[in-house]
Amino acid sequence: MAKSTMSFLGAIGAAQKEAMDADERVVIIGEDVEANVYGTTGAGKSRKDKGDFLQMYGRNRIRNTPISEEVIVGAAAGAAMTGLRPIVDLSYSSFLYMAMDQFVNQVAKNRYMFGGQASMPVVFRSAMFYGLNTGAHHSDRPYPMFMNVPGLKIVVPASPSDAKGLLRTAIDSDDPVLTFEACMLWGLKEEVEEDEYRIPFGVARTVREGTDVTVVAIATAVPEAVKAADALAEEGISVEVIDPRTLVPLDSRAVLESVAKTGRLVVADPAHKTCGAAAEISAIVAEEAFDALKAPIARVVTPDTQIPFSPALEKQLYPNRESIADAVRRVAGARPRQLADAR
């Protein structure tokens, strides 16, 4: 199959175009989607380029909305229950709270409450702008709170090819899917298949194989974990890096099998610590692979503080190669008793 170099953002645009071409019921709904402000509704940034979604699909299917997240999300849900397959562009993940009632009480619950009468084929895309000095109102990484809501599927891609294949699966899914796209990854480029392909949900990607410590990494923590693994290899520590790719469903078997091999787990997750995705992954392993564990499970996460604007303050907060490597060294080197005493 033909491959071409795609950025993370370009891969998202490509998946959207594929799906728009494949199925007339697919529509795109969101603020500033006509003008392609966020770069995923046009092949180029200019309307004059061929590949502009508005020109290709028209205003009936490219729905430029008022700034009204609550009705945007609810209307997409109602449309999904009655024959459309909307892709909703909510731009920043920090704006999802505006529509929280619709997400939790309608999108996630309707099919269940109505005894299976409704399906909800709708995708909600949003971008996580953390790490770019946008301040507390534009830096959220809210996927953990949605993981606590049964009925939603949660996708956090970390590479261009995953972004394309997972988004296509999301659009094909008859269930509601939320995708969280880390902006710091937008620029990532790799060779991506040009043809249609789908990556199944619930299947983790082993980014790097290793034998001493398992690092489960999410979003920007994936490339950072790989960098940490490279550095640690020189120190003689062999790190296996696993990217779950979808958090609901979560490929816990892949994690458990890796931990069965390594006996040590670090979870690197840019969400806030308390009740974050790292907590869940840790708890699964502490419950289901306890016997294999040789050391405490370390979480490398964003501490429970809000996000400051200043470049002097922000970056230190997120998991990075150093903090991941430190945690790996800790669980690889220290005997449990030492750690317990250190507390």
Binding site: R25, V27, N60, R61, R63, T65, P66, S68, E70, V71, I72, V73, G74, A75, A76, A77, G78, A79, A80, M81, T82, G83, L84, D101, Q102, N105, Q106, N110, R111, Y112, M113, F114, G115, G116, Q117, A118, S119, M120, P121, P150, G151, K153, S173, D174, D175, F201, G202, P249, L250, D251, S252, R253, A254, L256, E288
Partner: protein, 349 residues
Amino acid sequence: MDLAAMGSTTALEAQRRMLRIRRFDERASKMVKRGQIPGTVHTSIGQEAQVVGATMALGDDDYMTGNHRSHGHPIGKGSPLGPLMAELVGKGTGVCGGKGGSLHLADFNVGSLGESGIVGSSIPIATGAALSSKVLGNGRVSLAFFGDGAANQGCLYEAMNMAGTWDLPVVFLCENNQYALSTPAHTVTSGVIAERAAGFGIPGVRVEDGQDFLAVFDAVTEAVERARRGEGPTLVEVVTYRFNEHSEGLRLGVDYRDAAEKASWLEKDPIVLFRKHLVTEGVATDDELDALEREVDAEVEEAFEFSQTSPFPDPSVAFADLYTEPFGPTHLSRDGAKSAEQAFSTIGA
């Protein structure tokens, strides 16, 4: 519209549906008192003209969403009573398989996309159904029922603006029964609900006599026709009154509704009024209408029997229907050894 223009079939069907709601809700109320329904229910008794005037203005294929005062809407839309009653009891034969209960009735067969226990929350859903009609060009109209209390939820105005901008075929139907639980509308509502439409560039209509079936039917019919012509949404506010307490069995220490007010509204029973009208206009005789009442009584009795004799769902049903494409804990379902149900029950409890 006068009765002649409407035709006697439609007029009698309207009376039948109003009666169905009345008898169904009276029975449900009794069942709550007898402990035959867990939790509580909210009846539409007194509001039947407002409900049926709206639902009869819709076609069979049209969509509808509602709220916690929930039974009247699907009944008005033509949903059979048995599965509705069974749902109130939590039976497996319920319209939602027992998963929904009184607050979450839905019958997709008649375009009922679901009642919402969250005040205001189903308004965007109806707006979205109208969006799909518009995009697909299938001519279906959508109607959102909500109360005077819900009229202070912001999503209504987001929905009116979106629908106004895109000329979506949706009718926003405010059931102004003048109270939200214990709270009189006039103490928490600034301005007049129907007049809020104008600022959003859409027509707003206030039906002052919401006890008059024809008045409601006419106003909603006009709104539905407008929507169907592609001219966009309308807000219809219907002034009415609930005869019962907010919910059955609720007892408040405070008389928030004046006794004289209550008495004067009880005089305006929509079913009594419409019956008189049917007789006066010669659409039906008293005997015929008595027969109709007996038919409805029998229907409700049958629905009750159905609700009582139907079995409760198997406990495993609690784990079905969350997703169209379920997965269960991945590492369990993938090895095929355990079903999703087993996986859930291991993990859950």
